[in-house]
Amino acid sequence: MEFLSQINIALRGPTGQPQSASDTIARLADRLSPSTLLADRRAAVLALKGLSRDCKAEVGQLTLPGLLDVLQNDAEVDADIGKAVLETLIVLCEVDENAPAAARELGYKHTDVVLADDKIAHKLFALMADHSFYLRYSALQFLSVLLQNRRQVVQNYFLKAPVGVTSLIALLEDKREIIRNEAIFTIQSLISQSPEIQKIMAFEGAFEKLFNMIVGEQGLEGGVVVQDALTCIDGLLRFNQSNQSYFRGSSLPPVLLSLVGFPPNLPFNTPAPQQFALQLWDVPQKRANVSLVVGLIGLLGRQAGPPDGLSIACTRCLTEFGLASNAPTNIKTQALRLVPANVSALPLAEMVVTPYVPVPDTNGEEWDRLEPASALDALVELILHGEYNNIIDGERRTKDGMELRGAALGIFQNFVQKEEISEAIVQAMVSQPGSQAPVTPLLYALTTVPVSPLNIPSVTSTHFATLLFAHLLRASPRAKLTARSIVPQASAQGGGGGGGAFFVPADGDAPPPADDEAEADEPQTLLQILSEHLSLAFLTRARTDLPDKEAREWDRLCVGYLCLLIQWLWEDPAAVREFLEAGALGVLVEPINQTAEEDAMIPGLCAFLLGVIYEFNREPGEVTRSTIHPILTRLGIDVLSGRIVHLRDDERFRAVGPDNFVAASPSTHVPPHHPHQGPPAAGQTKAEVEEGEIWFDWAFVDFWKSNYYTIQKGITVDPNSLSSAAGQESAILIASLRDVIRGQAAEIEKLQTQLKALTNASSETEALRAQVASLAEQLQSSDQKKREVEKEQEDLLVLLDELNSKRRRDKERMRQANMDVSEDEDDDDDEDDDEE
């Protein structure tokens, strides 16, 4: 700062009077002119740098053009002046988000002056290749400031700069970390929303250089620079189809997978290695890095068209992460959410995973490997019983844990989109004659008898089971048909505890006590059991001595049963009849009749279910539409209709969105509960873990929104009218069209086989034709040969004839000459003659 005072002294006029700041600045501005000595200009710039912070406006107004000239002319000559001028310009253009509007405006104004044409921007790109550390560094910094203020302008200049990209990319290999890291940071904002820059970056090898850097920084164990590099890669890929195809075709995706320890060429029938499944997660930076890589893997797994090797490997990696690793819960959730929606193309049921659970009281250092299970089983297990079978969270429902189960539920929903799959799963729950179907975990959880006091993990499993089952039935009439014949074995209800289907000893989840009366009766169907449990839940809920918290859990159970039943009975008259015969009507009427002001949810659902029953009660039975109608009238059509509509206003219903499933539990300050000093959670021993709960899933909300109007109309219609609302008609129409399509598909198939047969036949004909042609040719040639032979023979005969006559003449002459002539030859001759 000494020079500053010197300059100030020098600048003081002869009178020695102190000058105002603007006078000083004006004088300094004069000194920037190229006619002065370089040393003077350097001093002036340094002085201005000192003043720029306090007198931003004046310095900017008076000296900006001069400073820019200095940058143009002197920076490369003299690194010191270059650094100083860049630093001054940074101060002038910087915009502090927290500053008052006027100050921010100033920064933008200066930026606009700097970017008035492309000269300065191009100069900066050139300076990035300069050898001086400070010049490179300050040029990069200034560029980021400009990018922050006027991104698009800089981007346009950049695209047209002759060497911009190359020198910027080269900085990624700079040995000096500071420069390299600053370059990554600048690239991040430079590529933002500019596909053209993203592409040229890829062309210049940005991917390769970034990956080299990540690998050089110990991969994902590396620091924040790895995170920045991964963010850059994400930015280059996320919305850029062209770069994605470049990246997919390069040798980098395998590197990406090996970064998280997943072998890229792992054969499908080989389990994932333990060093992938069990990793150390203590370093928070690693979690951030892995989360970015998981995002990238998800991007590569998503592939339009038939899945290729890469997208299958990516999807498998995501699934393994979610189902069979010790990754932090939020990373598992992220991985499962990214599993592509066309998962039914992947053999989830055949894929084998090896889940791990933490050994209690080892603080996450020891893990038990469980028996290999199919990914589908592991998925269902995760949904029903939570991460690691809930041994860490115990009674608590952590928000993270619920999010994870929700993500898994999403995969299940996508998986059973195909009717054959959902049907096969339901079919597996039906007992074949002569043998008993095994009690699947899903069926077990679904039919667990609720007993007071409720145990939270058990309620949660039952609730998730209703959601799973609803996914199986919702879109498939055939699955509904099959589901009606499910007769769960008594052991399921009796709480006989972990059958063979449980591959985890159920320790967090105490089996409910046996239900004796159910066992006494003849086996009930699933639908009957559900209706019974619903009624049981209503009865218990109606007790006045229940604590609020438990009442809430009973509500949750009711909601689960009701939502499942609504979706099951929809468009299924046979199921409606069975449900009615189980005495459902009485069960439903009671809650609707309550004057429940405080809670619109359960009455709304009951009213809706009643409407569904009325609408689809189309089979002859004990309880007909005419029996139900008076009940509807007594309850009041308007009241019912109002109840249905009110559900829409319920907060728990409204909060559900396609990606938004888990709600925070309201003010349940449960004292921190550590059944076992559990692993990952133990790393961040926070007393307050946010809890979460679920009520509805989006699939139901969506279903309800598309159909409630039909039901609202339906309940107003006379019992004898055949079909109430337009919705019904369109449903019938859709059903008939579906039949038509099915018929057509069959026909197409038939025609295709015919076509194949015909093609075969025609190829045969072709072969025969060829044969005919070749035979004809052969015939022709042999004909010709025969003709030639005949001709030759004729010639020979003529010759013979001539010889014969000559011999005869000779013999005659010999005889006349009294020479001895053989007789027999005469005979021969005669014979010959005869012959001729």
Binding site: L159, K160, P162, G164, V165, T166, P195, E196, K199, I200, A202, F203, E204, G205, E208, F211, N212, V215, S242, N243, S245, Y246, G249, S250, S251, L252, P253, P254, V255, S258, P264, N265, G309, L310, A313
Partner: protein, 219 residues
């Protein structure tokens, strides 16, 4: 994913006037289909293809950047010239103008690209002026003869082929011919070290390795 193996990665650019069929040539190369009514390319599009050069016993990965022919993108597409090892200079044999303009494209390439870049002149759309009597009457007349194209290519030291993205004729051949030329240059040691970013040697043994820097010549 096994067997992602190639010996070289070569960067190609495709340039030439708008609507001469650059994108169609690329799609024909990568997807073996004809892009009937493509939208004009905006900026640059990417495509890649593995080809084998049997006599060198080398598998080569072609990374092709198909550039926009429209004038407004010219400054953007120029940025790609520098890093390329090969260039397809395309004109339309039924458009005199596109052939005339090829000169300015070549000038651009010469100005910005590596001096050792291999350039092949490709006259596209020969299917439009086929001599086949069975074909429907040619829709458009040929305006640049084969001889003329060949002569000019010779003068400028370019390789030359006529091709059709529609029929697929000579499309792969054009890329192959250029690739052979580049490999020949590699053998002669023209692309010695990382002077040209357009040629990269890759470890053929493992698909996992990053693209190595071309290590002192080949083999």
């Amino acid at each position: 994913m096994a067997g992602v193996a190639w010996h070289y990665v070569l960067k190609f650019i495709i340039t030439g006037d708008a609507a001469v069929g650059k994108s169609s040539l690329l799609i024909r190369l990568t997807d073996q289909r004809f892009l009937a009514n493509p939208d004009p390319t905006l900026g640059v599009e990417f495509g890649s293809k593995l080809i084998t050069i049997p006599e060198e016993n080398k598998v080569v990965k072609l990374q092709c950047w198909d550039t926009a022919g429209t004038e407004s993108f010219r400054s953007i597409t120029r940025s790609y010239y520098r890093g390329a090892a090969g260039c397809l200079l395309v004109y339309d044999v039924t458009s005199r103008q596109s052939f005339v303009n090829v000169r300015s494209w070549l000038q651009d390439v010469r100005e910005h690209a590596d001096p050792h870049l291999t350039c092949i002149l490709v006259g596209n759309k020969i299917d439009l002026c086929t001599d086949d009597p069975n074909a429907p009457a040619p829709k458009r007349k040929r305006e640049v003869t084969t001889e003329e194209g060949e002569l000019w290519a010779q003068e400028e030291g370019l390789l030359f082929l006529e091709a059709s993205a529609k029929s697929g004729e000579n499309v792969e051949a054009a890329f192959e011919r250029a690739t052979r030329d580049i490999l020949e240059k590699v053998r002669r040691g023209v692309f010695d070290d990382d002077r040209s970013p357009g040629v990269k040697l890759s470890k053929p043994s493992s698909g996992v390795a990053l693209d190595e820097q071309a290590k002192g010549g080949c083999c």
